[in-house]
């Protein structure tokens, strides 16, 4: 089953990448771009009986490795 783990910085945590990209977009002429935030998506296959089990696996993996919960939030989608 295909699982997608979406990992983004917690609200309020500085996003240096987003900040730099926003700046670069402005100098490329995209002045209207704002609130740029950069996140990470991890797509993977897991062996699971059903969607619920796959989601649980995804969450376990996020907690164990894919996300750094001190500064990041995550959510998991199951794509069947």
């Amino acid at each position: 089953m295909k699982v997608r783990v979406f990992v983004s910085l917690k609200e309020g945590v500085l996003d240096p990448q987003g900040k730099a990209v926003e700046h670069a977009l402005h100098s490329l002429g995209f002045e209207g771009a704002s609130d740029v935030r950069i996140s990470r998506v991890v797509d993977l296959h897991v062996k699971a009986e059903n969607a619920e089990a796959a989601r649980k696996k995804g969450e376990e993996m996020a907690r164990a490795l894919l996300a750094n919960e001190v500064i990041e939030d995550f959510y998991v989608e199951v794509i069947v």
Binding site: P16, Q17, A20, A24, S27, L28
Partner: protein, 232 residues
């Protein structure tokens, strides 16, 4: 020879590069700020190492779109010489002035250690200080040095003698799959490449840091003496 070194926000090996040129020529190249939109009057433009724009998004991506790179591209199209080292190589691939791309190192760690390089490129001022097949030592210092390109691009580079340098053992053996030799996992152990007209060269390791005996050796000198001899 008149050389210019481009400084982007976050560039950090411009002084090292200037020092290497000073060692061979006695002259200090001029520093060029990234917002400059013209590089006329130079014989060689150097894109040095560092973390331009923090290496955020992708290494070299933001620098590749800065005003000076438009000028550098025009300069190269008119036959000017361009050297990109480390971040400079990444910028040249992002600007598509050299083929391929540099991905995260295979081991996912920043690599700061000496490697050995075999000189393979032909007919270029960037390799002319060595004899074809020579092996030399150079420090590397990068997180994204894993060279990749489509197989047909790699074939073409090899066929045209445009692979400038490859990672190898001290004895000159190549082992693509050995992480002690091809440490960052580059396709076909490629460490540096040349443009079609051989006037643009990019490589990951830092010959500029090995140009004086007191700084642990002079293995990197031939890059600079070769350039000096060609461009006067």
């Amino acid at each position: 020879m008149k050389a210019g070194i481009v400084v982007f926000p976050g560039t950090n090996r411009e002084r090292d590069m200037a020092q290497a040129f000073r060692v061979v020529s006695g002259k200090t190249p001029q520093m060029l700020w990234h917002q400059q939109d013209n590089v006329d009057g130079f014989d060689l433009i150097v894109l040095p190492g560092g973390f331009s724009f923090g290496d955020y998004l992708r290494s070299g991506a933001m620098a590749a779109h800065s005003p000076i790179m438009k000028a550098v591209r025009r300069f190269a199209e008119k036959g000017g010489y361009v050297l990109g080292v480390c971040n400079g190589f990444q910028i040249l691939t992002e600007a598509q002035m050299l083929p391929g791309a540099l991905l995260r190192n295979a081991g996912m760690r920043f690599l700061s250690q000496d490697c050995h390089l075999k000189v393979e490129g032909r007919d270029s001022i960037f390799t002319s200080g060595w004899t074809h097949g020579d092996v030399f030592r150079a420090p590397m210092a990068h997180g994204d040095g894993n060279y990749t390109a489509a197989p047909e691009v790699l074939d073409r580079l090899e066929g045209e003698g445009r692979v400038a340098f490859r990672y190898c053992t001290a004895e000159g053996h190549m082992k693509d799959s050995d992480e002690h030799v091809n440490m960052n996992g580059s396709a076909r152990s490629i460490a540096g490449v040349l443009s079609e007209n051989r006037r643009v060269c990019g490589l990951m390791p830092h010959p500029e840091n090995l140009t004086e005996e007191i700084l642990s050796g002079t293995d990197g000198l031939p890059l600079f003496t070769g350039i000096m001899e060609a461009l006067g």
